[in-house]
Symmetry: C2
Subunit: 679 residues, 2 copies
Amino acid sequence: MNGHGYLPVNMKKTYRYTMKANSRNRVVIEHVEPEVDAGLFPIKRIVGETVMVRADIFTDGHDSISANLLYKAPKDNTWHEVPMQFIENDRWEGTFTVEEIGNYQYKLLGWINYFRTWQRDMQKKAEANQDVSVDKLRGIQYIDAALQKAAEKDKIALLELIELLDKTSDTDKVISLVMNTDLSTLMNKYSDRLFATEYEKELGVVVDRKRAGFSAWYEIFPRSCVSQPGTSGTFKDCEHLVPEIARMGFDVLYLPPIHPIGKINRKGKNNTLSADSGDVGSPWAIGSDEGGHKAIHPSLGTMEDFEGFVGTAKRFGIEIAMDLAFQCSPDHPYIKEHPEWFKWRQDGTIHYAENPPKKYEDIVPLNFETDDWQNLWNELKSIVLFWMDKGIRIFRVDNPHTKSFAFLEWLIEEIKQGYPDVIFLAEAFTRPKVMYRLAKLGFTQSYTYFAWRNTKQELTQYIHEIMKTEVREYFRPNFWPNTPDILPEHLQYGGRPAFMIRFVLAATLSSNYGIYGPAFELGITDAIPGREEYYHSEKYEIKKWQWEQPGHLRDFIARVNKIRKTNPALQMMWNLDFFEVDNEYLLFYGRVTEDLSNILLIVVNLDPYHKQSGWVNVPIRQLGIESGQSYLVHDLLGDGKYIWQGEKNYVELDPQESPAHIFLVRKRLKRETDFDYYM
Amino acid sequence: MNGHGYLPVNMKKTYRYTMKANSRNRVVIEHVEPEVDAGLFPIKRIVGETVMVRADIFTDGHDSISANLLYKAPKDNTWHEVPMQFIENDRWEGTFTVEEIGNYQYKLLGWINYFRTWQRDMQKKAEANQDVSVDKLRGIQYIDAALQKAAEKDKIALLELIELLDKTSDTDKVISLVMNTDLSTLMNKYSDRLFATEYEKELGVVVDRKRAGFSAWYEIFPRSCVSQPGTSGTFKDCEHLVPEIARMGFDVLYLPPIHPIGKINRKGKNNTLSADSGDVGSPWAIGSDEGGHKAIHPSLGTMEDFEGFVGTAKRFGIEIAMDLAFQCSPDHPYIKEHPEWFKWRQDGTIHYAENPPKKYEDIVPLNFETDDWQNLWNELKSIVLFWMDKGIRIFRVDNPHTKSFAFLEWLIEEIKQGYPDVIFLAEAFTRPKVMYRLAKLGFTQSYTYFAWRNTKQELTQYIHEIMKTEVREYFRPNFWPNTPDILPEHLQYGGRPAFMIRFVLAATLSSNYGIYGPAFELGITDAIPGREEYYHSEKYEIKKWQWEQPGHLRDFIARVNKIRKTNPALQMMWNLDFFEVDNEYLLFYGRVTEDLSNILLIVVNLDPYHKQSGWVNVPIRQLGIESGQSYLVHDLLGDGKYIWQGEKNYVELDPQESPAHIFLVRKRLKRETDFDYYM
């Protein structure tokens, strides 16, 4: 009876063709959504969000069926059950809300509802004036079966009903007894789910804390927080910046590696091969005789200084995010302690990082294929635990796409099993399939292509892909207009307006965003000719920033972040919708809470050089605005107030003044006389 | 390290997050196509067809990778390997051809090609004038490793190369040695696939014989093949019809149930409740004191007569298809022998089939939920084996959507494991998801909604769904313009042209089609008022057909079937494409063999009442016709020949003459003078 050769090995045991106990299950459950890669990976949610599950559920013949959505919270031992509703074309739907962080599970159960089938058929027969006296008896049997399992208080009701049915012969009376909703409730409660079909997979949800879905990141090199010229900045110096970073409204402060920097093959300014004595090297060339991934660069201060700094930030509502760069400088202690973790060349020299013809002489990659991989994995995990012990809960992982997928999946899973509040951001700027795989295997947030998406078409297409397709179930974007590695052309040439445009876009198109702080805030445009990279990059030298440099964006940034914090619609990822506007340079979109209590309409002029104007098309029906009714739109950015009516409304944006409107919609305006109300 | 709660149970063992031996595998394989329901079901193919497999395959970092498609024929113990080709965006593709019927398997293998990575890097470094002397040594190591496994004849070549490389220092010379293609071939042959990733599922292909993909069915009630009026037709009578059915070009002759018909609750003419003494009853009410599913209705003849009939048909190239109706009449022997296989009402009477308020008093359904289900399953299987023993290899399963899916899946699998040449046609006219499920679980062919798809939009939409989406991998359509249950409105009112239209559509839109023979061939339009059902249906009475009735379609049918048999393009299912034509009543489509050796352009006038004309848009580029070149289109139906040029060409179809063109395209025509060539 066996030999079903072609079945996927891991399906065999659940497969039905053999004569198994469940061969009498007649309900089919298929095409479950969401389900990432056939259930291989979990979906992601934020505490308080809902999980809406849909599936095709049906059976042979005409019997009526029921289906439940089952789910488990992280610490639950038993399943919660939610009845699913039939939509159409054999599609069913059920929803649950995730209330705590950690790993939820969900699965589906479908069964034939014999009692409801009987109810339905009784009614149909009665309507056709057919005799139901014999059918009645079967119903009584069902009720009697339920009776055996019923709680005392329900027993009476069921018993009474049996007696009533028993002595009632008038068809209409019988039907009214049969179709009684209390009865249906009781029967749903007590009738067996004979031959119930359980969906063959248990699916997962990773539930993260609020900040995983709503965060504003600020990146800064601590060594550049210089107090006295000619010296390196310290954590103590950084502490002085915290209040201002908090005032700007950021809640994650991300630091490039803070560890000792390699001395062998150290890079000079502008990534030159030969470093001068004074050169400080790249923080990503981790490790020296002063220590490795668990040490702090001496010139930044002591471990106590670091913990003090983390504490101060915390008091200002800011979390410190650390960099996890799983690589070493040629003089990292690991190289002596664990030579087997690295690749060696035939001449006995170590194999430094390269992507021919490019060479990274100051960095040595780890060999994840080493025979000693278990110890390597555990050591790397211990680095994460070490810094978590210092109060760190957010990690930005450097170039994860050059590390083993299996290792990363294991690492994140290992950590989040014990500490589900930990956030991992994937710094992968690579091919889409690879970026998505990293998100699937566990990264909480991911860098995106946002930095290179400028036109209306580029932005809408890309955002549709990541926010409106299945990708949204596992890929949580974090928009960065710049990074220490990326100074996009439009920032180089667009002037201050370009910075404002890109900032508003990042902060309102994505609930998670970040900037490479000082260089963005101060509008630095100094690039290596013909490249999208910073000239005299902070990666290779200490910068003394001129904080008061004219034209800085500090107040603009503060204003946008304040708008984000006071408008719930900007704190969720998936409620973004693009609307029509008759100008290719204008981007028009809305963010709205489900209950319509917070409606934002955002217009951005993508052209940093010229004034652009056009007619936006407001989807008033979708926003619950009656076509006759006028409404006030309040520009939270420029503070202007406009009375709009209907769908078509005129907008005009001069990048020199403000390249964007962030309109808060107020619907209560009925007549001009009400207008004072808002003044 | 465990507790990965949310992983689907059946994934756990292949899942990577634990520290398993394969944790060093760095290549990822995902999004494999085709793959039906995550591999739960096999795809379908016909002998000689190809299976093109695509997948996303990639790894971390910059290493170059290789991937193979592995497949097994039914009797193979080892896997055949086909190298996959990179397409774009991490997508890879590989193809194999299925050459025998039975169950094939396929899976994927991906690994890092260290040697090719080395070759690539060597070249890049050389181009950048970097020193490669040390890198050269690593290459020599790779080659030496291969050498250990190489066959004698290859050993020399590899050895020589090592020596050459060893003593060559000039970079250009080294590179020319390294990039040598013979070397690459040898290395692909012998270098090990360290840490190769195997796709976690083995996927299946059910390969069927040619007729499963190309067949013309003719349905006939043997009892109506009457020789003497007032008597029932017999198998001997049927034998006389075989030559004519063969002349018309049919190759499958399908018989409704030929078993004894129940006497209890037998239906009268037009499905009336009370049968007169003379009424013969419905063949689907199977079983009486004369026997059950393994017996033959006495008035049809003996088992020998039946086998003789099957043999005669065979000699004329016709296969007999039998009906599998898993249900009983109230006096079927099973009911006494196995009362536990049926449902009983509280008053001790048997539970006949019903779909309230509809009743089918002459039919008793089997209870697939019976505790004795194993014996029930085995008995039903024995019915199939019984008739296979009489030479039957094609079964049309009656109302499979009212039988247990698990049972049908088991039955078909059981039979096809031993007899992969058996064909099962699903007679399921029900909701789409249910029809698709039946196809997935194993049916070779399926009835469709064709009978109710009439307009251009209805036809193109539906055919796109079943032939151009993933559905085509498992659902093999069989188009029927009518059945004993269905006399569509357009046949009732469209007259002879409507029959011709629907026939050409069925026979050219689908490589599998069938007709409820006499009633179609003779253009019967006599319907129950307001219904799409035959009045005085043959289901309840014996018909004496007037074969020579004027206007019969016999010759038209013969002509179309001849065209099908002489044009390979009409013998495959998936090569159908719809083309533009500027008239909503005209349907224009093409069927073309891959090598363009057989090109058919088909135009059908969907309007049976009026002449329709329009300009078709011939995709000449796709057909390999140069834009300047004229070409001859030969109407194989009306025998007209036309010289066409370019894309836009004029057609005109008068349904009274012929509602369709089936153009064979001949490209060799260059000048008018060549024209004689075709006369």
